[in-house]
Amino acid sequence: MAVRIGVVAPMLITIDPMGAAFDEIWPEAEHLAIADETLYADFAGGRPITDETYSRVSDLLHYAATTRCDGLVFTGSVFGDPVARARQDIKIPVLTSYEAMIEEAFEAGTRFAILSTAQGSMTNLSADLEAEAKRRGVGITIDGHVAAEARPPILAGDIETHDRIVVEAAAKMTGCDCLMFAQVSMGLTAKKVANVPGRPVLTAPEATVRKFKRLLG
């Protein structure tokens, strides 16, 4: 029977980029979505992460773990800590949005660039990278750029405008060992970015699917 991965999402717009990554990298796997937009409404966009956030994320992941999935990924980038706590007693692998991409980033080097469409994701990804650098005992640099003007279009479903802004911003971000896209919803945009030799563009959906394929494939 095919391996089943549950894409647990706080927003429906993160589902398609994950699905596209599965279709391209691991089409044999079954992926299905379990999405709860109240998490985004109540806790994202700069709102505080509270005890309730932890319990709701935990409840959703525990529910998802009962749906015959062999692995779960939580696609909300501001929920890394709640996910890390909730998975402690879940028996299948549960990935946060970023951890697979962060692994790939450290394989690429130590000079990181991050492009985001929201400050919150930038802050979270930077913090996750710093924590990983400390754990590994290596020095890193982070060159971050927030293209906040791309966020309203993607939330309104205007993918073209979003992608144009992201592509233009990405063209300016060279001189690094890799360029990371901080939002899962930016995952489909990477294909449109002009190739810069020696600067791989890393996206959370692709890195996540590659990691699941290594773990479960």
Binding site: D36, E37, T66
Partner: protein
């Protein structure tokens, strides 16, 4: 400002969301519908031809009940469950809840009986006709109501919707609807058919009822 009413819109398939969104915008724009999607219910309990087992497994009951509890705990003031084949499971799962939880169909069934006893059902999948008929039977039995059902399936329509061919889907539904007269109302069986009524030719004394709009009207009446 009063706190806005939050309605959890729980669905096993994302094609239901545009129609329920439309219903809220038209009927109850002050409320805040928030989506909860679980693809696993379709993947595990609905066959490839959109039929279901006559008796759903206990696992399906357990999962629907857990999903409803989860939705309740997301500060929801009410819940509408959009999966039309899960009516019986929702009725079981909501037991003990203090917030209103509506199945796909019960708002529409109430409106249908208000229109008369000759009930028309048009669906894009045969399984749905059976589910809606079952829900009607339970509703009527509980109230001692007599009725007759005329039903028709616009074959292939649901697959067109899943494939994203909305125009092709709508054309099939409109053609089938034109052939269904002689009933006191025409119920559209799928949530995903909810945007079609505007295209259906008007037949006097045969209102076209859609589940999402009736569900929102019913939920609004409870607040």
């Amino acid at each position: 400002m009063a706190k806005k009413v939050r309605i959890g819109v729980v669905s096993p398939v994302d094609v239901a969301f545009p129609t329920i969104g439309d219903a809220f915008e038209r009927i109850w724009p002050e409320a805040v519908p928030i989506k909860l999607l679980d693809d696993s219910l379709y993947a595990d309990f609905i066959h490839g031809d959109f039929t279901v087992d006559a008796r759903m497994p206990d696992e399906a009951y357990g999962r629907v009940a857990a999903l409803l509890r989860y939705s309740r705990d997301t500060r929801a003031d009410g819940i509408i469950f959009c999966g039309s084949v899960f009516g019986r499971l929702v009725e079981a799962g909501r037991a003990g809840f203090t917030i209103p939880v509506l199945t796909s169909y019960e708002g529409m069934i109430e409106e249908a009986f208000a229109a008369g006893s000759r009930l028309g059902i048009l669906s894009t999948a045969a399984g749905t006709v059976r589910c809606l008929s079952d829900d009607i039977e339970r509703y009527a039995a509980a109230r001692g109501l007599d009725y007759t059902i005329v039903s028709r399936v616009a074959e292939g329509g649901f697959q067109k919707m899943l494939d994203g061919d909305v125009a092709g889907h709508d054309a099939l539904v409109v053609d089938a609807a034109a052939q269904m007269t002689g009933c006191d109302c025409l119920m559209l069986g799928q949530f995903s058919m909810g945007l079609v009524p505007a295209k259906i030719a008007d037949v006097p004394d045969r209102p076209v009822l859609t589940a999402p709009h009736a569900a929102v009207r019913k939920m609004k009446s409870l607040f």
